[in-house]
């Protein structure tokens, strides 16, 4: 557990970066600090490992006041990931990852084995271990940054906008893998971002900071969306709060309907017969994974992938109400496709059924 007690940071010019911050980052959870430029989120993060010394107040990690510890020893026990990766350009990937274990006096063979293990753990080919950072893509470098931070298995991780320098597709992958890793590792993580969507996606709790390092609200993402404390928080969260809040609401048992399906490669005549008068028919592959919707009246010959309407999103059974509603709203047939964990079709759901499930939730409910 990391706790800030009335922490301030005033710079020599008189600028207050952080003004009396008190908050707790619970053990094994992700606490996200989010806010506009100048809200002191990075300063707050760097005060934890004493890259910046607080002007007043105390920061404790598991009850130990960090100001009483040797800064270098403190830092070796805290993983740190930054935006650009911050990899050492003159060291190979393996040597980069092994940095902290070697500093801690592990023997070389053990540090190397550990580095190899982490390379695989973050989803990189071991062959990359002998390369230098400039031979890797931005996304790969960022994974190495995470691996390096995890190398000595620190209980605490600090992450400063680690995914903001990569393109949106890679960012989403990195976020998903980060959540998967955290599911296995249960680190105490403080994560800084300016991206509210990232904060909502990753945070177990989210601290919204305003300029001058004042805590505006600290709550779970669902609670923030449902009940922002003031206008600043509401504005910062942005529009569509009601809809986005559904992302944190697990869908109850929804009334699923059986959906007639056509195998990819069937004739249009077969498809029209199965559609039985309906404009749209769902096309699946051999494993019953939904591929898209086809409109038999407009097609001829065999149904191939190019014929499919791909606008519909797919939701998982037991996923969020937002995903289920979005599946229904985005499908050209207005029938939202639900799949099981292996991606196989289970059935379809209507928007009105999802809406009535939402209506049935107790008023003001927060997941």
């Amino acid at each position: 557990m990391i706790s800030f007690t009335d922490v301030t940071k005033v710079y020599p010019g008189g600028t207050t970066a952080v003004g009396g911050l008190s908050l707790t980052a619970p053990t094994g959870k992700i606490t996200v600090l989010v806010g506009p430029s100048g809200c002191g989120k990075t300063t707050s993060l760097r005060m934890i490992n004493r890259m910046i010394e607080p002007t007043s107040g105390t920061i404790e990690i598991d009850g130990r006041d960090t100001s009483t510890l040797n800064p270098n020893e403190l830092r070796r026990g805290i993983g740190y990931v930054i935006q650009s990766g911050g990899l050492f350009p003159h060291r190979t990937i393996l040597d980069n990852i092994a940095t902290v274990p070697l500093l801690l006096g592990w023997d070389k063979a053990k540090a190397r084995t550990r580095a190899h293990e982490l390379l695989e753990r973050v989803g990189l080919d071991p062959i990359l271990g002998k390369r230098y950072p400039n031979q890797l893509s931005g996304g790969q470098q960022q994974r190495v940054g995470v691996a390096r931070a995890l190398a000595a298995d620190p209980p605490v991780m600090l992450m400063d906008e680690p995914f903001s320098a990569v393109d949106p597709v890679v960012r989403e992958q990195l976020q998903d893998e980060f959540l998967r890793l955290q599911g296995e590792l249960d680190k105490t993580i403080v994560f800084v971002t300016h991206d509210i969507d990232e904060a909502m996606k990753l945070g177990d709790q989210v601290a919204v900071l305003r300029v001058g390092g004042i805590l505006a609200q600290l709550a779970t993402p669902a609670k923030l969306l449902a009940d922002p404390h003031d206008d600043f928080v509401a504005d910062f969260l942005g529009r569509d709060r009601g809809y986005r809040g559904l992302a944190f609401a697990e869908a109850p048992e929804l009334p699923l309907r059986d959906e007639p399906v056509v195998l990819l490669g069937s004739t249009v005549a077969q498809a029209a017969e199965i559609a039985a008068g309906d404009q749209w028919v769902l096309v699946v592959d051999d494993a019953r994974a939904p591929l898209g919707w086809a409109e038999p009246d407009r097609l001829s010959g065999l149904i191939d992938r190019d014929h499919l309407h791909r606008g519909g999103t797919v939701a998982r059974v037991g996923g969020s109400l937002r995903a289920a509603l979005d599946a229904a709203l985005s499908a050209p047939s207005r029938r939202g496709v639900l799949v099981d964990e292996d991606g196989r079709l289970v059935g379809t759901v209507r928007a009105q059924d999802v809406l009535s499930a939402i209506e049935r939730r107790p008023a003001g409910a927060v997941a």
Partner: protein, 214 residues
């Protein structure tokens, strides 16, 4: 050509002297410029005075410096130490800025990351900052090496034997051959030192010659 073949041994000996007189100051100057350059980057207030101050040293005419040295050091006028010390001063003049710029060229996020991992200041300097500054420092070192080779020859006016002696000798006797040989030998020596530094720098920076990912 005939003169050259007849004086191979002498030319070789002068070239060795020349190389030693140019090399020792280069090495000593580099070793002194590293801490000075570090000070200039570590304490911003010191940057301008250090760079301007050491830069000024280079404007002192070499002949004057060679003659001043015995007065300052208490050495004899013919002592090669005068040349070594004077050239060390020139090397420092050229290299302090280079070292400071080289250390300044190390990406800030890399330094931050090193600090955040608990690498102390001293270890960080030797294991991260200095290795990353090698390409810039090597570039300055190449300039200093060539400059030293050229300035050493001036010491011939004081009677300290090296390739410059061929010039004074040639002028005195109004004989062009030794002068031409001296110029060529100086060029060969400068080129050899330049290539040596280039080679060492490349060997010390394997990460710069890797295929960059696209």
């Amino acid at each position: 050509m005939k003169w050259f073949l007849g004086h191979l041994d002498q030319v070789w000996q002068l070239m060795l002297n020349h190389a030693v007189l140019a090399l020792i100051p280069l090495v000593v100057g580099l070793l002194l410029a590293i801490p000075l350059g570090w000070l200039a980057t570590r304490y911003r207030v010191l940057y301008s005075p250090l760079i301007a101050g050491t830069g000024l040293l280079y404007t002192i005419p070499s002949l004057a410096l060679f003659i001043l040295m015995p007065l300052v050091l208490g050495t004899g006028i013919l002592d090669p130490v005068n040349v070594v010390v004077a050239l060390t001063i020139y090397t420092i003049a050229l290299l302090v800025r280079t070292v400071a710029d080289g250390l300044g060229s190390v990406p800030d996020d890399v330094v931050q990351a090193a600090t955040a991992m608990g690498i102390g200041r001293g270890r960080r300097f030797w294991s991260v900052e200095l290795p990353l500054a090698v390409p810039v420092i090597a570039a300055g070192l190449r300039v200093a090496a060539v400059s030293n080779v050229s300035i050493v020859s001036v010491a011939a006016l004081l009677g300290i034997p090296q390739l410059g002696s061929l010039f004074t000798d040639g002028f005195a006797r109004n004989f062009l051959d030794p002068i031409a040989v001296g110029i060529l030998a100086c060029m060969v020596l400068a080129l050899a030192m330049d290539l040596a530094i280039l080679w060492i720098s490349r060997a010390a920076t394997p990460w710069l010659r890797t295929r960059v990912a696209t």
